[in-house]
Symmetry: C2
Subunit: 243 residues, 2 copies
């Protein structure tokens, strides 16, 4: 599965090229092409704004026409807020991500910051991609557009799982036996302290307590802590009585 | 279904508050709260960077503690690249969006630009949300993080369909009869011009042609244009012969 080439047509600000490079690399995209960047290339502003996405900046390829920039690509997407006066199929970012993942050499075109893509360039594309946003306020900064589209590709391409392992660093989930021990300990003390004033409600109150501990998904250490708390509260109460 | 409140804890740059407001409004979010913004509030830089998201900027509420900012919220998400030394459930942006949509008064917390959320604040939250990105390069600008998370909420909340209507402005999809007419016209001319040099391949070639027109999803006007092209090519050839 090939990653799409990101192509910026006549980008105006070096900073924007840099923030686009950063957004791309956030989502594992590395191939950036520029067609006639207004302020030339290379650009120190772009490198600085990329916040360390040097691999993308170093690999930038420069072209003097859109045709040349897309010549080796198969599926080429135009992007924009809306398609005007052209009959191209329009996909959401999600639908486009599916097609991009299936292509051998896909590319995604972004127009200049002020105007977006000109229709001359849109007409060179296979399809049009738009991200439906708040209809009252849909204008995205170019790096924001690159980020959303790159993210949708990344996600479609199978993003890594969230690593939950550190949650159990130095400990492990409590066993049901340990939770049962906590329940018995707590119930015993609650009974001694006449917590259950209504004996008929005792079973349902205990069930609710048990459900609370289940939702808590306590670790071994959590159970020890909770038993320590119960013990401390009981001893505190007893010493108060004694004093 | 309530939209989440976005809460920025000790944001440093007014520009970033503005670009966060813009990203929120792009996705239909309007409630922005600030806890101790470093450079004070109101902020001209924030308003300018919001690119017209005045409704969000005007509605900003200021708080002097995280506790106060989240006091009226139920489901409160901490955000960050990773959770450290705390045992909170961790959700991807997509999973979190489902939970946020089900909550009555959800909030999402973002930390200061340089450090992200401090654990003191993470511990006040119900859950932790992270967006799994390129593990080698996962640091997002705060407005980029707000955009992705707002977008995932927006999407979960049922984003509007892409408007394809203008594609058929002033025309309509061709009927099957019109496409059939084009096929007959074209086939007739191809036969006359001895296009099908191998008679055995003629049926499959015609089927392929028909499939091409199907994929093209031509409009009424497209069919007229294509028939005009066929006619012109034929006439041109005949006049050439004549000359």
């Amino acid at each position: 599965m090939a990653a799409p080439v990101i192509i910026l047509i006549e980008p105006q600000l070096g900073e924007n090229i840099g923030t686009c490079a950063r957004a791309m690399l956030n989502c594992g995209l590395t191939e950036l092409r520029l067609v006639n960047p207004r302020d030339g290339w290379p650009s120190d502003k772009a490198r600085s704004a990329s916040s360390g996405a040097d691999s993308v900046i170093d690999g930038v390829k420069l072209f003097d026409s859109t045709e040349a920039a897309i010549a080796d690509c198969d599926l080429v997407y135009a992007t924009g807020a809306r398609l005007r006066h052209l009959n191209l199929p329009i996909d959401t970012g999600e639908d486009a991500a599916v097609r991009v993942c299936a292509a051998a050499r896909p590319a995604i075109l972004f127009g200049p910051e002020r105007t977006g893509l000109h229709n001359d360039d849109v007409a060179k594309c296979s399809r049009f991609m738009t991200i439906p946003l708040n209809p009252e306020f849909s204008s995205l900064n170019i790096a924001q557009a690159v980020l959303l589209i790159s993210y949708l590709w990344y996600r479609q391409n199978g993003m890594p799982e969230v690593d939950q392992s550190h949650r159990m660093a130095k400990t492990r989930p409590a066993t049901q036996g340990e939770i049962e021990g906590l329940m018995e300990h707590l119930t015993d003390e609650l009974d001694k302290a006449n917590f259950f004033t209504s004996i008929s409600k005792r079973p349902s109150m205990l069930l609710n307590l048990r459900a609370m501990f289940a939702r808590m998904e306590p670790t071994e250490q959590d159970v020890l802590t909770l038993r320590g708390i119960v013990k401390t509260l009981v001893l505190g109460r007893r010493s108060e009585k004694r004093s």
